[in-house]
Symmetry: C2
Subunit: 309 residues, 2 copies
Amino acid sequence: MIDKLIEKIKSTNAPIVVGLDPMMKFVPEFIKQDAFRELGETLEGAAGAIWQYNKGIIDAVHDLIPAVKPQIAMYEQFGIPGIIAFKKTVDYCKAKGLVVIGDVKRGDIGSTSEAYAVAHLGKVQVGKKTYSAFDEDFATVNPYLGSDGVNPFLKVCQEEKKGIFVLVKTSNPSSGELQDKLVDGKPVYELVGEQVATWGAECMGSSGYSYVGAVVGATYPEQGKILRKVMPKSFILVPGYGAQGGKGADLVHFFNEDGLGAIVNSSRGIIAAYQQERYAHFGEQGYADAAREAVIAMREDIAAALNSR
Amino acid sequence: MIDKLIEKIKSTNAPIVVGLDPMMKFVPEFIKQDAFRELGETLEGAAGAIWQYNKGIIDAVHDLIPAVKPQIAMYEQFGIPGIIAFKKTVDYCKAKGLVVIGDVKRGDIGSTSEAYAVAHLGKVQVGKKTYSAFDEDFATVNPYLGSDGVNPFLKVCQEEKKGIFVLVKTSNPSSGELQDKLVDGKPVYELVGEQVATWGAECMGSSGYSYVGAVVGATYPEQGKILRKVMPKSFILVPGYGAQGGKGADLVHFFNEDGLGAIVNSSRGIIAAYQQERYAHFGEQGYADAAREAVIAMREDIAAALNSR
């Protein structure tokens, strides 16, 4: 799947992933009203609204981008109907040929981590049959529990030709409370980055990149530069561009000399672009077209930054 | 909710939580066959089987214990039908008066962590109405992202009178890869334990205990002894008893002098007791009665250990 991701990044010339994190305050009023009219002001109504909202965005941007990253928390808060909308979103994106990164940040131990890996990337056995539960292409994984938490994901990834992105240095202000602490003079994020490189060495795609990647926030470009060297064969999923303050120029450190090695996420900067002054002329009805314009602007911003290095 | 948990621990005289982690290999054949006959060898069939299995156990043990801990991964692997079985289990346990600890190990940042907190402990806004999605009483939380990941849970806990258990020192063999690393001479788990004490100071129940607890594995009694002192007002959720190798005598360090401060989880040791030689005479049909006997034995084991200190 890392090979497919790379192929699609090359063909779209856009190392971009659109974060499908449909907060209700992003969803245009007309979509909410339609959904509430049909399904009531219920969990089903909310789930119906976020699904319609997502569908509009996917239809508008799918040809421009290699991948999407639905954030499951935004669906989970609407209970079972929300999870159904998550699954519909995953399936629809895959049908459109997009690589789907499930931003689930799961992590547990042994058989439990295996159950999460099976849930999101693998197949579960029921009697003599097998089924895929959520069937994303990649999942994000939390490393706090060590190898016992990650190895079951590697096993499933090897079987299913899928991949993971391990949290290494997250984009948020307090990420340093634990991740920057020095262990023998080396920050925790670097130790975890070394583990990612080790785990990844056993999981190489034919593209020369591993299907064990890392999450490193755009808001920490200096750390990105270090981690790029620590994990030369791992793709870096870079959140924090746009709304969280990361800029195009900050991103160059996350890429390798071959122009690959990173994929940059933007969520509200794309999906709620119509709420920005710059794209306000699209109006609510044009939210999906605004998202398309924002993707194009982001692609140009990254290309300009990579060209000027 | 921490006050209710303590009250129930006192009334049952059992600082025990039963882990409802229904792996298919634990589910008796007759239950699986019934469910498959009705619903097919499908995700629905699997979910039907684990729900019937859970219900039997809950009916058999609910009067003996204060709390249960369903592990959501074991349900998530069966997709939407699995998640429905999780929700039914939560609701059924609450109707029986049990405290429900959702073992979800969620953790993200800002609005995303808030969405997880809302999903599992809070209420979500839909138009002018509010709904609870999963509505557990406690949730387990991963601290790798720092305060940005935990604070949204604290806010929801304060509003809803609920609680969390933060992963501090997990029970698995590789937990030390990150958690034991020394920072200025102090292991990471101790730093996280100090954070738990700080977060918990703002979240006190009237019982004198905080509703911000910690997860510390029974397999690490020496670390438990240290952490007990670092977080004197936090309840410790102790996994790893039984199947993972923790013994009654190891547990005493996790409790305070008042006999409180810890609650010990057992999953397969209880729910799959009928598969142990000791309880084999119950047979598959008697799996729930075997679970009841195993709870009683666990209660006596812990009481004996606490009495002999």
